[in-house]
């Protein structure tokens, strides 16, 4: 069982770090690097949303944390000269911190009530970014310097991006590494007691309290981790785009994060990753359909949800039970 998992992990590494670059240089589709980088980062945000689903809350507010994370990192880099690599965890922690303040009152809400409030959060974040002096309003912050060198004890771990001959590959590698770390963390959470307690919360909050689980604390913890993921995803997005605007993450992005989870499957740790890949790529590929892009896209989405209500990954389950 464990050997099988290691093999799967090795195969995954082989695909993302060897096959994908080979495919791209063979076909000359260098733009795929940009697409895949976006997929990787969006799936980091989606991992957070998935975790809130895991405690039984519909989170349509991840865009807010991505936006806040983006601004925190950008402002620290441009105004305080902090290394991007340090701002990355700081952006995550800042988001986790405000998510605790926000989550404290709203996590008591359930179902659509929680969902509606989180939906509003993204809009609040956008309006704040427009209004606050430090975010530079609608003009946003542009010309953000690329990430510098990251070294530990004089050892270069990551070279400065400006010095790379092909920063696109650099960003891709960086985003994929971040995604891998995120999903390893998520996988570990789900398979440890923390995840078991989250499941108990999702299935029956009252019973969970009656077996002694501090449900309020656990909800906050899960939401803070979720928002941490949103924050680091946003921070890296801003850095790659070298710019951030109040409209960098809007309500539609928050909704998409949620859809990635739905599509991939709420019962599978790697669901949001696959969901992000399929939806983002699917949307890109459908651009050949021009004005019908949205129509086909929505149609396929509805169909998928009807046919596979438990997400694309539930296909694997069916095969297993048949065998």
């Amino acid at each position: 069982m464990n050997a099988k998992k290691l093999m799967g992990f090795a195969a995954f590494l082989l695909v993302v770090f060897v096959f994908v670059p080979m495919f791209i240089s063979a076909t000359g589709r260098w733009d795929f690097y940009y697409t895949l980088t976006s997929v990787a980062l969006l799936s980091v945000g989606a991992a957070g949303v998935w975790l809130t689903f895991y405690i039984g809350r519909i989170n349509i507010g991840q865009g807010a944390y991505a936006l806040v994370g983006g601004y925190v990192s950008t402002i620290l880099v441009t105004q305080a000269g902090v290394s991007f690599w340090l701002t990355l965890p700081l952006a995550g922690l800042f988001c986790a911190f405000i998510s605790v303040l926000i989550g404290f009152p709203i996590l008591r809400l359930r179902g659509v009530y929680f969902a509606m409030v989180t939906l509003v959060l993204t809009e609040v974040a956008r309006l704040s970014a427009l209004a606050l002096p430090i975010t530079n309003g609608a003009k946003g912050i542009t010309s953000i310097p690329q990430p510098g060198e990251l070294s530990l004890f004089g050892l270069t771990i990551i070279p400065a991006f400006g010095s790379l001959s092909n920063p696109r590959v650099g960003f891709y590698v960086m985003a994929v590494v971040l995604m891998i770390i995120t999903y390893l963390v998520l996988w570990r959470i789900v398979n440890s007691r923390l995840g078991h307690l989250c499941r108990s919360l999702q299935q029956n909050e009252e019973l969970s309290a009656s077996i002694g689980v501090n449900t309020a604390y656990l909800r906050l913890l899960a939401y803070a981790i979720s928002s941490f993921f949103g924050g680091i995803a946003g921070a890296m997005f801003a850095s790659i785009a070298q710019s951030i605007y109040p409209s960098s993450f809007v309500v539609a992005d928050s909704v998409n994060f949620m859809l990635y989870c739905f599509l991939g499957g709420l019962g599978y740790v790697f669901g949001p990753m696959l969901g992000t890949l399929l939806l983002y790529f699917g949307w890109d590929l459908l651009s050949i359909a021009k004005e019908y892009q949205l129509l086909i896209y929505s149609g396929v989405m509805i169909l998928l949800m009807l046919v596979l209500p438990n997400g694309v990954l539930s296909l694997l389950d069916k095969k297993e039970s048949r065998a």
């Binding site: 923390l194 499941r199 077996i211 002694g212 689980v213």
Partner: protein
């Protein structure tokens, strides 16, 4: 010796309705005490008050002399006062064994972070939970269904699982809300036996609400009867059986088939 639980003048009002009205009684350590009363008398509400799932309008509950009535429910569970629910309450999409293992939460020595990184303590905890879960499975005779999904279980097994979940927390006092509901005679007698063994072998003090009078009479050391939220009688099964107020309460209600 102070009683393990002291219920003091506890009252719960829902708007104009007084669900529990100035009820007081003590529960001694190692006792099996039943709370009876017609439908809507306030029995479940009383249990919710004791386990602190709903705040009392007035009055208090003491556990070993410490006030527990304003604590959060998980804190009360932490202290060792654990309730099971009248509605079958289980974690639906977990197996029987998973239900029981997850309910060992209070026995964790490792922190959540310790579990996350997989410390030695965490591994020991998990092993201990698994062993104890198997123990509880054996105790309740659930071996045959241990790997069944909880949502697939029939009513009788759900009741047993509800009790298993309660037991997993290692309670000092367990509140069982209608543990025999939906069971036939044989199943009930088995369950009566288990509740006894719970007290005899594990030293758990048992408080239970039940409509099945023969079972109540058989199992209880003492009985408290409430009607319209008020305590109308308290005593041994024999005293309760002969109490005029109790007979009247039952005859005056739909629930006349008291079977005493």
């Amino acid at each position: 010796m102070t009683p393990i639980l002291q219920i003091k003048n506890i009252t719960k009002r829902y708007g104009g309705l007084t669900a529990v009205n100035d009820v007081s009684f003590d529960v001694n350590k190692g006792e099996i005490l039943s709370v009876i009363g017609p439908n809507g008398a306030g029995k479940s509400t009383l249990f919710k008050l004791i386990s602190s799932f709903v705040p009392a309008t007035s009055g208090e509950v003491l556990f070993n002399g410490t006030r527990i009535s304003s604590l959060a429910p998980h804190k009360v569970a932490q202290m060792g006062v654990v309730r099971t629910f009248q509605e079958t309450t289980i974690f639906r999409s977990m197996t029987v064994r998973e239900n029981i293992i997850v309910s060992h939460h209070l026995r964790s020595k490792a922190s959540l972070f310790g579990f996350f990184i997989g410390t030695k303590q965490a591994k020991e905890d998990e092993a201990a939970f698994a062993a104890s879960a198997d123990n509880i499975v054996d105790f309740l005779g659930l071996q045959a269904i241990r790997n069944e999904l909880a949502s697939n279980l029939p009513q009788g097994h759900l009741r047993a699982l509800g009790m298993a979940i309660g037991l997993a927390t290692d309670p000092k006092v367990i509140l069982l809300d209608e543990p025999f509901a939906g069971m036939n005679h044989d199943e009930t007698m088995k369950m009566v036996n288990l509740v006894r063994r719970l007290r005899d072998e594990r030293g758990v003090t048992v408080l239970l609400v039940e409509h099945d009078m023969p079972a109540v009479m058989k199992i209880s050391d003492r009985i408290v009867c409430i009607n319209f939220g008020q305590k109308i009688a308290e005593g041994t099964p024999k005293e309760i059986r002969e109490n005029d107020k109790v007979i009247e309460a039952y005859l005056g209600s739909e629930d006349a088939a008291i079977g005493m």
